[in-house]
Symmetry: C2
Subunit: 277 residues, 2 copies
Amino acid sequence: MKTVINLPEIRAARAELTGPIGFVPTMGYLHAGHLALVRRARDECASVVVSIFVNPTQFGPQEDLASYPRDLPHDLSQLREAGVDLVWTPTPELMYPPGFQTWVSVEKVAQGLEGAARPGHFRGVATVVAKLFNAVQPHKAYFGQKDAQQAAVIQRLTKDLDLPIQIVVCPTLREPDGLAMSSRNSYLTPAERQAATVLFRALSAARIAFGQGERRAETLRQVVRTVIGAEPLANLQYVACSNAETLEELELVHDKALLSLAVHLGKTRLIDNILLE
Amino acid sequence: MKTVINLPEIRAARAELTGPIGFVPTMGYLHAGHLALVRRARDECASVVVSIFVNPTQFGPQEDLASYPRDLPHDLSQLREAGVDLVWTPTPELMYPPGFQTWVSVEKVAQGLEGAARPGHFRGVATVVAKLFNAVQPHKAYFGQKDAQQAAVIQRLTKDLDLPIQIVVCPTLREPDGLAMSSRNSYLTPAERQAATVLFRALSAARIAFGQGERRAETLRQVVRTVIGAEPLANLQYVACSNAETLEELELVHDKALLSLAVHLGKTRLIDNILLE
């Protein structure tokens, strides 16, 4: 496994790999969810490239950029174990040198939910993903369903900008008690960690209602609100029942919907979602 | 010479070309300036691709999109003559299908001059150039110095988004009387055509002042204003004396400056520029 830092290095190392090339962009502090993306890439592609970059432009000024968890040695040993060919660990100074001033913005699909709760977040995501894609030039890129809106934004920008890359969205990996795997779970106190199961319990309750025939989006959202409201440590920021591709809020669920939520547990903000279909 | 229209066609045709690939993006109605770009690409690259696309998103609502001159048969015969390998003529519907919502924006360098006079213009230019680059994936792309700010915007976005493409900016071609070649010259009445020589005469007068040692940017701009003011058919929209890379307005010209202007002649708007160095 080769590790590179700057742009000429990643280009040169990329040029030596056999195609097709699978790419897993990450912010590091890897968990089993990331490793499932790597395994899928390993299965489908001749070569696998992983980037580790905590992208400052997708964090708001009040967010957790400085405290975002990092453990590069452990990340690298997990990636080596997983059979990755090439790891790229650029620095913020290399990605955003003085004079940097070009942004990729996705409109409608990036405006609600996380986009509304975190202004500028998806402009940062879209810009860094475009840069990572242009440097790595993969055939396929792998993202987790846990960040459902991010996946929708990246699918949209890939199509709109005519990037010759196939976006593969992989199922959310969960802890045995249902909590979606996330690097931010490491922030939780033991009590918050226990309370955090409420996200998936709330989504699951709505899924049961959907399974029993409930199609009114507002009623499904209300099921989520009720379950979250019963957990004293949890504060619901939003719950949405939306079209899974456009992220437009629904009144009625016809065939398929994305049910998603953001919850504060103390200082930690967690998101989760399920597809109703 | 092969001609293609849709994205799968351009990708397939591109894949069959021998590299390095030179790319000349145009809006058609080709003149000697375009053909000089093609010739340069032909000299430097194994294969030459030209696109012809009158990009709607770079025209303002009051601008000349509908009347922009078009002559595809003549364009194609000129390109065939010039030894071009592949011509791509996409349609607006193919480039901007329903649901399109991703934009590439360059900030500071796109804000003054043409960016201030034509709101949204450079967002349209940056977005379409990113799309064209992603589809054609050239090694080198050729642009004319006549659109100096456009060249600076494209150089900036190519660098900022880590596109592996070398941008080559070629000198402005001029008519024997000094008028910069432009597809929009076809709009001019005979009287306006004669008056249009005032753009280059004004720039040349400032160049003489610069050659005589004048370094105050405002004095150089004033020379341009005076010459344009003496031509009754010409209305100066702006004159700028700016840093050639950042497009920031200068007070004093140290080593190098871009002197540029936009002028209305009747209903026609023309731009021109020279480098002072």
